[in-house]
């Protein structure tokens, strides 16, 4: 596979390490009443669609950036790639 790195252009997926569902960015509030359940769902109940999937890839052999890749799990077609920290900020992680 080839991942079109937003800064470096097309790079072989072999240079990346896969983590999984991009919802791992949405780490729950650890002080919340329901923290235990929230963290269980966060860690163990990930999205596993047959179709478009937002997922985390780490460019370990490249520039060490984490990417959020939107990829179809049936065809492996990649429709969107962005830097994870920008995605995370949009999700309010920097508050």
């Amino acid at each position: 596979m080839i991942i079109n790195h937003p800064l470096l252009g097309p790079r072989d997926a072999q240079e990346f390490v896969y983590l999984g569902d991009a919802s791992l960015i949405d780490r729950p509030d650890a002080s919340g009443e329901t923290a235990l359940d929230d963290f269980h769902d966060y860690l163990y109940l990930r999205d596993n669609p047959a179709g478009s999937h937002k997922e985390l890839w780490f460019h370990e052999q490249g520039d060490r950036s984490w990417l959020v890749v939107t990829r179809d799990t049936r065809t492996h077609e990649i429709t969107h790639v962005e830097l994870a920290f920008e995605y995370a900020k949009r999700r309010g992680r920097d508050k």
């Binding site: 963290f39 950036s65 065809t75 992680r93």
Partner: protein, 985 residues
Amino acid sequence: MSQKSRLDGGLIDRSRPLSFSFDGKNYTGYAGDTLASALLANDVRLMGRSFKYHRPRGVFSAGSEEPNALVELRSSARREPNTRATVAELFDGLEASSQNRFPSLRFDALAFNDAFSSFLSAGFYYKTFMWPAAFWEKLYEPAIRRAAGLGRLYGKEDPDNYDKGFLHCDLLIIGSGPSGLATALTAGRAGAEVILAEEDFIFGGRLLAERNLLSEQDGSEWAATVISELQSLANVRLLSRTTVFGQYDHGIFGAVERVSDHLPEPISHKPRQVLWRIYAKRALLTAGATERPIAFENNDRPGIMLAGAMRAYANRWAATASQDIAIFTNNDDGHRTARDLSAQGVNIVALVDCRIDAPPSTEFEVLSGAQVVNSRGRLGLKSIQVQLRDGSMKELACGALGLAGGWNPNVHLTCHKRGRPIWNDKISAFVPATDTDPLLRAAGAAAGILSTHGALLSGAGKAIEALKELDISARTPILPKAEDAPVNIAPFWYVKGGKGRAWLDLQNDVTVKDIKLAHQEGFKSVEHVKRYTTLGMATDQGKTANIGALAVLAEMEGKTIPDVGTTIFRPPYTPVSIGAFAGGSRGKEFRPYRLTPSHKWAEEQGAVFVEAGNWLRAQWFPIEGESHWRQSVDREVIAVRKSVGICDVTTLGKIDVQGADAAEFLNHIYCNGFAKLPVGKTRYGLMLREDGFAMDDGTAARLAEDHFIVTTTTANAVPVFRHMEFCRQCLWPGLDVQLISTTEAWAQFAVAGPNARDLLQKIVDPTHDISNEGFPYMACGEITICGCLRARLFRISFSGELAYEIAVPTRYGDALIRRLMEAGKEFDVVPYGTEALGVLRIEKGHSAGNELNGQSTAAMLGMGRMVSQKKDSIGRVLTGRPHLLREDDYRLVGLKPVNAGDPILSGAHLMNVGEIANAANDQGWVTSAAYSPHIGASIALAFLKKGDQRLGEVIRIVSPIDNLEIEGEVTSPHFIDPEGERLRV
């Protein structure tokens, strides 16, 4: 020996005769021959035996689809089983032998299978060999195994080298027949980056095998002129002897170039084969088509082959299987073969055409509406029985029979991403679906366009189409005039009636009957039929067999062939050497080495090394008189406890953590607190995974308010860095913190033992106070040594002794260990390796890899209280799950044998005294064990249920796998200095 069946002409170099041997007999051929063409020229028809019935077989095709003529090529360690004689390029001194026969090809004992064939029907295995039960293992299965397989591997290391590489292009062209060449010419002239890959050793594909002219030129001549133009273009890369074997995601193709297979052995330094990973923006499949046979009773005799192959042998290689040949066809292409052969002076006994309206001929007899129903000749075809149009029978003597059942486009690569081909009635064959991946188009015969004229045009057309998508404009070149014969074909797959066997899959011996039986037993899906009968699972992957079987199945099901469907084509297109996939990554070069800064010095000391991940570390340093590793290790351990020792600890991961929020960041990734760690101090840290289990441990040293150095274990350096980057970029992007690994940049040595400080004082520049007061336990700082060389000093201890770790820029590591050893003479300093390191940390009760194996919680490790509840750190919340807090969970303890002489084995399990040893009674297991010279006995760390409440208890340490059981006493994991006084002196 004379080449009896050699004809005139051909693309062989008669000025270069080559001698070769087959089954020990010597023959001569010419440069340009394949092993198969040379054998035919020498009148050899019998070349192999079939897999199941060991039927005599001859060459069937002239290409990589060959099912029959498989040989063992070369000898000893270079022996290559299952090599297709049809693609083995002849070289001087080539050795080949037939396979899967005993004792000889002409007389094969296992041919008795053939006599019992009526009992060895499809799927017979599954119904039998069951009585009596015990016989399967002892008798039947071993017998089946002995008969298994085709060729033999030599069993010794492959002596040749392989390599890998990467290529990039705008347009990859797969196959160099008329369409491929037209494509290359169009794209090449347009200036696109082009790769033209051809599996054959000459470019031209089918053009090399045909007689009809392109304009006034021979096809081969035209091909040669095109190739020479392409060679002159810098933007075109020509790869012959190169098979594109697979299509992968996003325009990546796998190809193997056979660099040296046409030579007796590779030129020194050169690889045998190169595996290319090709990144193509667009690709064109111009791989041509494969002819298919027509099945009839006993259609597998040597001499019966594909008509197009006969034509190729006659035209390109000037060889023929016989002087008297018959042709059996259902389409006009069979007639072309007959014409070419008779033009080459071969006698066409008859052309049997199942069509009533077969075109007549003045050159040879055409039997229209007739069928070949049977054949004779045990080791080679002698005659065929023909049923004439009026139903009467006629026996025709002939030495070879050409089968022309029509052509199947080579669609395989278009299916590698699970695209399904579609049926084309005009040519009665599957063609690539037009809506498959836009990255890969097909042209020419591969797209079902079977005339040379059509192939040329479609090649150029598709090239223009593909390049347009890349904004490269191209024009159709002036193409030569070429034959444009229509495809006149009447689908005809096998001759009905006849009690005997009609072969579909020649190599695996799958007959029409087998397909019918499978269907009768309920195996109706094409995948079921394939698996039940093994159809298409031989080395040729059914390239000439599958379609016939589909036709039979369709008939049984009362469906059309496309309704029955096809099995999925998967890579590789043709089999690829395993060595090529591995390239240079084998033997000692399987993975790169990582060497420590003191490696060269340690080698000089005669150190014994051990792999730690990719690192090589000194395991121990034997000295004169030591015959057993234990002597060395005990000595090293005692030296550290009594005086001072030095160990290279560079392999531990070092991560530079800087930024205004560095401390807060560490607070998140460690379960214990770091915010309040003062500058100039180091602290032990435990890192949990989000699921609450220990991920890694190490230290963090605060060099400045905004600067920490984090250490990890050797094994986890990479995953920990990845995890920290995840936390930084994805979880807390608002924190001002930056990370970079400095593992390789600093050479770091542990200096441990009561005399550690005295030794260091000799090299540390006097401007730095490292006294116990000036530089207390857990202190850290940037200093200079040996006259202003920058260094870092950490007062941390893994051994439990007064100890430091000192770091200098890596290039000075070698000099530093030499200097330390020199300066340490007065203290009898010793270097110590990983074994002693292990003993020391077990004596001290420090956890390492065996304890931190991903299955341990902080509580199990006795660090439950370290998990701060005051802050949000990774893993804190899920540590609160009931099962992780359970009362009877494991706890880290120490173990001592009750009888000091008994050894404790790491990996032994723990049982209560008086209980039987079984899983239900399991109390825990030994994680690490070592002989402690300090204790004078074997000691161990272990996880024991409620261990912390069982100190002093006697427990059984059982290792049934070693038939070993001893009694041990549960102790604290700290075998020395539990209060840690030695650390602080």
